[in-house]
Amino acid sequence: MDFTNPGAFEQQIASHRDYLLRFARLQLRNDTWAEDAVSETVLAALARPQAFERRSQLKTWLVGILKHKVIDALRLQGREVSLSPQGDDASADDLLDQALFAPDGHFAEQPADWGNPEQELGSRQFFAVLEACAGKLPAAQGRLFLMREWLELSSEEICKELGLTPTNLYVQLHRARQRLRECLELNWFANPQAL
């Protein structure tokens, strides 16, 4: 990184903007908040170029800042994360359960053999499907799931930030995981050539 040329640093940061925005959107499910989080990330990076250490990749550094800005946004907007533990979500989950299980509690169909995970996971296309599936989760549920999985917050932290009860959080995460599994099974493992 050439610290004697601020213009070049600025340009390099700007080149990652779209990428940062994609992840802020996926996480926050709100374009305005996402734009704000990314703008703040860029400003924070520009304000402290000396904080960027050469040994880490620029993008990794930016993503690190973005994660904090996303958490700030979620904290600030936490009250707007409305959940309906017994609401419309629940009936959709019943449908998912009905598709997966016979009335006697056995699997309606054997879960598919997902093959060689190592090989699958190395593929860029797989992550595109994973991202799309995460994006298809209901907004509030998707946020919670990504707070847990992408921001790596503990259940306690999430509950504290958003004023949720652990039970409520677990119900939402449970549903998110079930949906994600179903989506991956349908769109990748069972039918990869459909892409």
Partner: protein, 71 residues
């Protein structure tokens, strides 16, 4: 959902416990019942492997997010 006979889970109950286990520790009785079920069931170990694959996938996804573009 709470199984009525803790030592005789249906696949649906076992799957629910396995998904729950991703986010919280299960009570001992549930862990024991689940282990029993996994020993006698053909389908559920597959489901368990799928969840493990998902967990690994999320881990690698974070790495992919952080490192993409530098490859």
């Amino acid at each position: 959902m709470k199984p009525t006979y803790p030592l005789k889970l249906t696949c649906k109950e076992a799957a629910a416990l396995m998904v729950a286990r991703e986010d919280r520790a299960l009570p001992l009785a549930d862990r024991a019942a689940l282990r029993m079920h996994l020993l006698i069931c053909k389908a559920c170990p597959r489901f368990e492997r799928q969840l493990l694959t998902m967990r690994n996938a999320m881990k690698q996804w974070r790495g992919y997010v952080d490192g993409e573009g530098e490859r």
